[in-house]
C-alpha cells in the first residue's frame, strides 16, 4: 500500500458519542425578553411631556383669567367713581332736605320693659336745626358741577346777548301821559 492510497482510504473517524438528544414538542413560544428599560424611559418621557403641556396650558388659562380680573377691576373702579361724592353726607343732606326731612331736636326714648317714655316729652317739630340747602353748605369739590366747556360757555353768552338785544329793542308800551298841571278838567261852557 502506498501513502497515497492510504490517504484516499478514509481514516476511521473516532467514534464520538453524542449525547442523546431529547426531542420535545414546542408547546409555547419562549417569552420574549421585554425591553423594560426602554419602556420606563418612554413612560417617563411621555409623563414629562404631558405635565409640561398641562402646565403651559394652565399658564394660558391663568393669563386669560388675569386679564379678566383686570378688566373687572377697571369696571368696578369706574362704577365706584360714580358713587364717590354722591354718598357724602352733604349730598345726602341736600337731597333729604329737598324731600322735606328735618334734623329735629332732642330725641325721646321708649323703655321697652315698662313702656315708659324717657327724655323730652315734646314731640319733634318740623323746624330743622340745620339748613343743608342754605347759603352755608359744607363744601365738597367732588359735587361741584364740571366747569362749562367752551361750547357751553359760548351758548350761554349767545343766550345772554340775545336777551339783552330783546330788552333793548323792545318798544315800551305807551304809558299814560304824565300829569303836571293837575287832573285834566273838562272845560264847560
Amino acid at each position: 500500500m502506498s501513502v497515497q492510497t492510504a490517504r484516499v482510504q478514509p481514516q476511521p473517524q473516532p467514534q464520538r458519542t453524542e449525547p442523546r438528544r431529547q426531542l420535545t414538542p414546542v408547546t409555547a413560544p419562549a417569552a420574549k425578553r421585554r425591553p423594560r428599560l426602554a419602556y420606563a424611559a418612554l413612560a417617563i418621557g411621555a409623563a414629562q411631556m404631558g405635565i409640561s403641556l398641562a402646565t403651559t396650558q394652565d399658564a394660558f388659562v391663568l393669563a386669560d383669567l388675569n386679564i379678566q380680573q383686570h378688566e373687572l377691576g377697571l369696571q368696578k373702579q369706574a362704577l365706584h367713581e360714580n358713587l364717590v361724592g354722591i354718598s357724602s353726607p352733604q349730598s345726602l343732606a341736600v337731597k333729604a332736605d329737598a324731600m322735606g326731612l328735618v334734623v329735629a331736636g332732642s330725641a325721646s326714648y321708649l323703655r321697652l320693659s315698662d313702656g315708659k317714655v324717657l327724655g323730652t316729652s315734646e314731640g319733634g317739630n318740623w323746624a330743622s336745626t340745620v339748613d343743608p340747602n342754605g347759603a352755608t353748605k359744607v363744601g365738597n369739590a367732588l359735587l361741584a358741577p364740571p366747569p362749562p366747556t367752551a361750547a357751553e360757555k359760548k351758548a350761554a353768552e349767545d343766550a345772554a346777548a340775545k336777551r339783552d338785544e330783546a330788552a333793548a329793542g323792545a318798544v315800551e308800551p305807551a304809558g299814560p301821559p304824565v300829569i303836571t298841571d293837575g287832573l285834566p278838567t273838562p272845560t264847560t261852557r
Binding site: 367713581e81 357724602s88 352733604q90 331736636g105 330725641a107 359744607v138 367732588l142 366747556t149
Partner: protein, 600 residues
C-alpha cells in the same frame, strides 16, 4: 461567529457611531461652556445692551383714611392723562391703503374723542392742525389730564376697536376725599407730587405710605416676555388709618357752626367734641372748613385747624379750673363767700372789673361762677399760692401740647409765677395772662368731667396694615389732677351755671342735665393792646352731669350780632343735643341736686 464580512460591517458601524459621538461631544462641550462656564458673562452682556432684561416698577397704593365707623374719608384712585400723536394722525390721513388706516377718519374720530373727554371738537382739531403745521413729526400733544376710569375705558375701546393708535393714556395716582370738607382739617392734604403736607396724612404717613414693588423679566426677540423668567417683588400697599372722628356728626356740626357763624356775623367758629371716658376726639368741626379736594377754596389763614393751631387767652372758661384748684386744696367750698363790688383795686395796685355793673354783693363761689364775676374769682383764686395755681394750670394742660401730636399744633404760653406782675396775679384766676388752644380747653374739661383724672386726647383709632395686622396706639396715659370729690363739686357748680345763669333758657337741652361755662376773651389787636368791642367767645359744656360722657366746646371768633359769649349759646345747644342723640345717651333720670346759693 464573526466572519470577516460581519467584522467589516461592525467596524463601519462602530466608526459611524464614534463620529456621531464626537460631534455630539463637541456640542455638549460647547453648551457646557456657554451655559455653565461663561454664563454670567453672557447674561451681563445681554443686560448691558439693554435688550435682555426689563424692570417694571409696580406702584403700591397709598392707604385709606376712614372714620370711626369705617366710612372712607380719603383714598387713592387712578386717573388717566391722555395724549395724542399728531404725527400718527397725519400719517393715517395721508395713508391711501384702506387696510392700514383706522376704521374712523380723523374727522369723525375727533368728534368721538372730544365727546368722551368733554372738550370742544373745533378746539381739538385746531390744536392738532396747528401742531402738525409747526412740526409734522411731533409725537406728543396733550389731550386731557385727570380722566376718570370710565372715560379711560371709552377711549381705550376707541383705540382697540377702531384702530385709533394715536391715543396714548398714562395712569396717575391721585388722592380723593369723598366726603369733601367733612373733617377736612383733620384729614389734611397732599401736594402735587403726593407728599403729605398737613393733618393725619402727615401725622400718620408711616402707616399710610406704600412701598413700590418691582417686576424683572427677560425679553426675547421682539420684546416678548420669556415665560418663567419673571421675578416679582410685590408692592406693599399702605395701611388704613381709622380715626376716632364720627363723620356724620362732624358734618352736622360743621353745617351748624357755619350757619351760626353767619347768623352772628362771626369771622370763624369751631366745635370740638371729646369722649370723656376715653379721651377720643369725636368731632372736629370748623368754619371756614377746608375741603382737601380743593385746598385753595379757603383763605390762607384757615387751612390750619383752628382747634390745634389757634391760641388765645381763654377768659372765664378757665374759672372752673381755678375753682377746682382752690377746692382741691381745701381752701374754699362752693358756699364760701367774698365781698365783691363790680370794680376793685387791690392792695398791690391791680385793678379788676366785672363784666357788668352791679352793687356790691356777697358772692358765694358758686355765685361767682354763675355770674362770672372776675372780682370774686380774683379773691377766691388768691386763697392759694400762685405757684400752686401755676402747677394746677400746667397739670390741667396749659402750655403743654396735647398727646395727639397734630402737625403745626401750638403749645400755648404761661409765664413762670415768679415773673407774674401784680395784675397777672389776679388775671390768671379768670383765664387771662396765659394762652391755650381749643384742644387744651377741651382737655381741661375732660379732666373735670372724668372725676379729676386727665386722659390723653387721641385722634387715631388704629392702623390696619395691608396684610391685615391691626396696630392700635398705646392706651392713653392718665394722670390724677384733682380728687373725684373735687371734680364732682365743680361739676355741680357747672350745672348751677347752666340752670341759674343768664343763658339758661337758650342752652337747655330737653331731657338732660348739663353743665356749662361761658368765656369771652379779648383778642390782641397786634399793637400790644386788645381789640375793642369784639371778642373771641367760647362755651364749654359737659353732659350728662350725673355721669359725664361728652365734653363739647364751641367757639365763635368776633361775633358781631351778640358780642359776648351769648353768641355761642344757640350753637352750643344744637351741638350738645346732636351729640347726645348720636350716641343715644340715656336721658337724665335723677333730678338735679338742690340749687347752690348765689349770694350769702
Amino acid at each position: 461567529m464573526t466572519t470577516r464580512a460581519t467584522r467589516a460591517q461592525r467596524r463601519r458601524t462602530a466608526v459611524a457611531l464614534a463620529v456621531i459621538l464626537m460631534v455630539l461631544g463637541a456640542f455638549v462641550f460647547r453648551l457646557v461652556d456657554i451655559q455653565v462656564v461663561h454664563a454670567d458673562d453672557h447674561v451681563a452682556e445681554g443686560v448691558n445692551t439693554g435688550n435682555l432684561g426689563s424692570t417694571q416698577v409696580i406702584a403700591g397704593a397709598r392707604g385709606d383714611i376712614t372714620d370711626s365707623d369705617g366710612t372712607v374719608l380719603a383714598s387713592s384712585v387712578l386717573v388717566y392723562d391722555a395724549e395724542l400723536s399728531p404725527r400718527l394722525i397725519r400719517e393715517f390721513e395721508e395713508q391711501t391703503d384702506e387696510k392700514k388706516k383706522p376704521k374712523l377718519a380723523w374727522h369723525e374720530a375727533s368728534e368721538r374723542i372730544a365727546d368722551v373727554v368733554g372738550i370742544d371738537v373745533d378746539d381739538l382739531r385746531d390744536k392738532v392742525s396747528k401742531r402738525i403745521e409747526q412740526d409734522p413729526n411731533s409725537q406728543y400733544l396733550a389731550l386731557a389730564t385727570g380722566l376718570s376710569t370710565e372715560q379711560y375705558l371709552e377711549l381705550r375701546d376707541l383705540k382697540t376697536d377702531d384702530g385709533l393708535a394715536y391715543i396714548a393714556m398714562k395712569p396717575r395716582s391721585v388722592r380723593v376725599y369723598p366726603n369733601g370738607a367733612v373733617a377736612g382739617s383733620a384729614l389734611g392734604f397732599l401736594d402735587g407730587s403726593g407728599k403729605p403736607l398737613y393733618g393725619v396724612e402727615l401725622m400718620d404717613n408711616a402707616c399710610l405710605s406704600a412701598k413700590n414693588g418691582e417686576m424683572t423679566y427677560l425679553r426675547g426677540q421682539g420684546g416678548v416676555k420669556i415665560p418663567g423668567s419673571e421675578q416679582i417683588t410685590p408692592a406693599t400697599d399702605g395701611g388704613t388709618v381709622q380715626l376716632t372722628i364720627n363723620s356724620d356728626l362732624n358734618w352736622y356740626l360743621q353745617q351748624m357752626i357755619a350757619e351760626e357763624a353767619k347768623k352772628q356775623g362771626a369771622k370763624a367758629g369751631s366745635v370740638t367734641v371729646v369722649d370723656v371716658k376715653t379721651g377720643k376726639i369725636r368731632a372736629m368741626a370748623e368754619y371756614p372748613s377746608l375741603d382737601p379736594n380743593d385746598v385753595n377754596s379757603v383763605d390762607d389763614d384757615y387751612w390750619r385747624s383752628q382747634i390745634f393751631s389757634y391760641w388765645f387767652e381763654p377768659g372765664s372758661t378757665f374759672k372752673p379750673v381755678t375753682a377746682a384748684s382752690v377746692i382741691n386744696e381745701g381752701a374754699a367750698t362752693p358756699l364760701t363767700s367774698v365781698t365783691a363790688p363790680d370794680h376793685k383795686k387791690f392792695p398791690n395796685g391791680a385793678v379788676v372789673n366785672d363784666p357788668f355793673k352791679h352793687p356790691t354783693y356777697r358772692y358765694t363761689f358758686a355765685g361767682a361762677l354763675i355770674d362770672s364775676s372776675n372780682v370774686s374769682l380774683s379773691q377766691f383764686g388768691t386763697m392759694i399760692s400762685p405757684e400752686k395755681r401755676y402747677d394746677y394750670l400746667k397739670k390741667f394742660g396749659v402750655a403743654e401740647k396735647t398727646a395727639v401730636g397734630f402737625p403745626e399744633e401750638l403749645t400755648g404760653l404761661i409765664r413762670d409765677p415768679k415773673t407774674w406782675g401784680p395784675q397777672d396775679l389776679y388775671t390768671t384766676t379768670f383765664g387771662q395772662a396765659f394762652t391755650v388752644t381749643p384742644a387744651q380747653i377741651a382737655g381741661a374739661y375732660q379732666t373735670l368731667a372724668n372725676g379729676g383724672e386727665k386722659l390723653d386726647l387721641s385722634l387715631i383709632e388704629s392702623c390696619t396694615t395691608s396684610d391685615g395686622t391691626v396696630i392700635k396706639p398705646d392706651p392713653p396715659k392718665s394722670e390724677r389732677v384733682v380728687t373725684e370729690e373735687t371734680a364732682k363739686t365743680v361739676q355741680r357748680m357747672l350745672e348751677n351755671v347752666a340752670v341759674q345763669g343768664g343763658l339758661a333758657k337758650t342752652i337747655e337741652v330737653p331731657g338732660y342735665r348739663i353743665g356749662i361755662k361761658t368765656g369771652t376773651a379779648q383778642t390782641p389787636d397786634g399793637k400790644g393792646g386788645y381789640k375793642k368791642g369784639v371778642y373771641f367767645t367760647n362755651m364749654a359744656g359737659i353732659a350728662p352731669i350725673e355721669d359725664p360722657q361728652f365734653v363739647v366746646l364751641v367757639t365763635l371768633d368776633e361775633p358781631t350780632r351778640i358780642r359776648n359769649s351769648g353768641a355761642t349759646a344757640a350753637a352750643f345747644q344744637k351741638a350738645m343735643t346732636q351729640v347726645l342723640k348720636t350716641y343715644r345717651v340715656a336721658p337724665s333720670s335723677q333730678p338735679m341736686d338742690e340749687l347752690l346759693p348765689k349770694f350769702d
